[in-house]
């Protein structure tokens, strides 16, 4: 029986890819292990092998097609004795496209409001370019390394492999092995070496393959990097950046899926950044590299491949410690950061359709936290929901709730609700993983609750 060859998932976060090249043509016989095609994922170009033997009956997706969803049939494999005619009715499947879920039916009386999107204030005439978060982070490092010889990058696979998530792509070629340094797999050790290098006058960027592995090095980050300026009476500190993906990726289980924002945010002496958009990723990373303090820069693997508009400027920076208002609204304040912003913005869209104008704030920097922007917003809306992927106990939302209770108590018309990841280690099963993460629906539900709807 003819079998369909499907577009493969070649990384944990791959949802679609480019069918770059067919290495077989219709009528060719393939054996298990033969390379049939080259497929570009968000991270790399991978070779795609045949797992069964047979004859290529039909190629359904032409080479060069972009945006082919995982599991889309891309070819048909015939067994002995079958002919291509047998599969004549196998339709060349167009790449599947996402269909948005229908928006929840708005209450009859609700009049949709138009979201008031807030544009960033940029110099007049600033051109924008479309970039992935990954490219924006790379450009930030490259730009800072060009202007400051003391900035260097070290971590696992950052140089010759071009970055485990391809964030450091091209940096080795431009800056050489002295400044782009592959380390052994030894987080505690190389983090300590980087702290020493910072004491010695350099400005290291330490890439953790993921922040889960930084737990091996957390003593050096906190006890050595964060506290030395204080312990030395201001004589010496550690101007450096610790960066890498943080939080859940996709289906990588409990030990590889944790958001550390609240852990690091509790440490005086550290600054903590967690960007959402590519523009912020770039502008904040440049500021973090220039900052005279140790900065923990929490990225997100799922966001790496997402595209945003980035100002096309010679030196685009975003100050640390300043939140960004993405949407203005008078009815409720949604506060988030990092990938949580995805749910906050989606929820704001759906709420708008139901006539609720949500103000959406991206904290961007977790420490020092821009309380003022949140408080000012809550003074206007009188209601607040926080959204993050981290665990619920001692979360960033818990902290913000306390700040609002202390400083804006009289303005609150409802308790603040914290939407967080669930209080469980991340499960592997796809359905359970979905349940463990915060969802847009939960944000809407929380919003309705504080709006007493």
């Amino acid at each position: 029986m003819a079998t369909e060859i499907l577009m493969p998932a070649l990384s944990p976060t791959m949802e679609e890819g480019t069918l770059a090249k067919w290495l077989v043509k219709e009528g060719d016989t393939v054996a298990s292990g033969d390379i049939m095609a080259e497929i570009e994922t968000d991270k790399a170009t991978m070779e795609f092998e045949a797992v069964d033997e047979g004859v290529i009956g039909k190629i359904l997706i032409a080479e060069g097609t972009e945006g082919v969803k995982v599991n889309t049939p891309i070819a048909v494999l015939l067994e002995d004795g079958e002919s291509a005619d047998d599969v004549a009715d196998a339709k060349p499947a167009a790449a599947q496209t996402d269909t948005d879920e229908p928006a929840a039916a708005a209450p009859a009386a609700a009049v949709p409001v138009k979201p008031k999107v807030v544009e960033e204030a940029l110099p007049e005439g600033t051109k924008m370019k479309t970039q992935t978060v990954r490219e924006a982070l790379r450009d930030a490092m490259a730009e800072e390394m060009r202007i400051d010889e003391d900035v260097y990058l070290m971590g696992e696979e950052v140089a010759e492999y071009q970055g485990a998530y391809k964030v450091s792509q091209g940096l080795l070629d431009e800056f050489g092995a002295k400044r782009v340094i592959d380390t052994p797999i030894t987080e505690h050790g190389f983090t300590g070496i980087a702290v020493g290098a910072a004491f010695g006058g350099l400005k290291p960027i330490v890439e953790f393959m993921t922040f889960n592995f930084a737990m091996q090095a957390i003593d050096q980050i906190i006890n050595s990097a964060a506290k030395t300026l204080y312990m030395s009476g201001g004589q010496m500190g550690a101007p450096m950046v610790f960066r890498g993906p943080n939080g859940a990726a996709a289906r990588v289980g409990a030990q590889h899926s944790q958001d550390y924002a609240a852990w690091y945010a509790s440490i005086p002496g550290l600054k903590v950044v967690q960007p959402y958009s590519a523009a912020d990723a770039k502008g904040l990373l440049k500021s973090a590299i220039r900052d005279p303090n140790p900065v923990v820069f929490l990225e997100n693997e799922i966001l790496y491949g997402q595209t945003f508009e980035v100002p096309d400027m010679d030196d685009y920076t975003v100050p640390l410690g300043k939140a960004r208002i993405w949407r203005e609204g008078d009815d409720i304040t949604l506060v988030s950061f990092g990938i949580g912003m995805k749910y906050a913005l989606e929820a704001a869209d759906k709420l708008a359709a139901e006539g609720v104008a949500a103000e959406v704030i991206d904290l961007r920097t977790i420490r020092p936290m821009d309380h003022d922007t949140v408080i000012e917003s809550v003074k206007k809306t009188n209601r607040c929901v926080t959204i993050e992927e981290g665990f619920p106990v001692c979360s960033i939302g818990n902290h913000l709730s306390a700040v609002l209770m202390e400083q804006a108590f009289d303005y609150l018309d409802a308790p603040v609700i914290n939407c967080t990841g669930k209080d469980v280690p991340m499960p592997y099963a796809a359905n359970l993983e979905k349940l463990a993460l915060v969802t847009t629906d939960e944000v809407i539900e929380a919003a309705n609750k504080v709006l007493y709807r």
Binding site: G196, A197, F199, D219, S232, G234
Partner: protein, 358 residues
Amino acid sequence: MHFGTFCGKNSLTLNYLTNGVFMAAKKPKQANVSKDDLLHYYREMLLIRRFEEKAGQLYGMGLIGGFCHLYIGQEAVVVGLEAAAEEGDKRVTSYRDHGHMLACGMDPKGVMAELTGREGGYSKGKGGSMHMFSKEKHFYGGHGIVGAQVPIGAGLAFADKYKGNGRVSFAYFGDGAANQGQVYETFNMAALWELPVIFVIENNQYAMGTSQQRSTSSAEIWERGKAFGIPGEAVDGMDVLAVREAGEKAVAHCRAGKGPYILEVKTYRYRGHSMSDPAKYRTREEVQKMREERDCIERVREMLLTGKHASEDELKAIDKDIKAIVNEAAEFSKESPEPDVSELYTDIYADEIPQEVA
């Protein structure tokens, strides 16, 4: 397994220290040392000892709080190695750090005032005994986490190599820290990247209260460097000249760009691990024997006298000088005011951002 057999293979370490076997085997040539050098080492070691005795006193009076780890007995290690260092070389060590600070030229007044937690201390009273630094003297701490200073020391060397300035770094740690994983992570990278760092293992025989025999699988800790291709040697740490000689060799190795070097300096601390340690894990006789037979200061004193480099009176004058310096430091440390309350919220960030207020 019988315990005696169990620990038999490295019980030699202490024996050769107490019996002086080591010294007999590697007796340094006295001819190589000038009168001025000997007098200098004598002064330096005596300063550390008297300073530490005074610190112990102030601790007893409640003027020094928290943990306080005295260096008495180990003075030859830092004085010998500082004699091998050049201006601009860097050093980093653990929490038993007072000796290192005095030996690299930091002001005894500032060190003592930090011990008492006063404004005039090196860290304005905010670091304490275990956390002190001097950018000016290239002293990078003073670290309270056992072993954490080892990769930091290699990182200082990394920065020097990056800048190509020809400096070397001394990363001091104890026999206890030598069992921390990050030490070996660091050995690997230091060797791989040929960093100009000297790993100084101050083997004082006890990791807090646990003897080397009971904590460490190898009798010769420096030999662990062989697994990484790092050369090294054991040194009699009760002999300042032996330490200097080994230090010079190590410094030359590093400065020539040949990568790291390990010195395992066999030494002995006379006092407990910290001020609150009754030291029940060793006999009074063991300590007494070391003091009487191997004391590093006595040894130099004898050399000075037998070599007719100095008279009893001259040495007495030095003792008096040192006592005055230490008394002055103690007075300063009592008179210096406590830090202003505003200091609570300074030096947390280099750009002084507002703190969370509870």
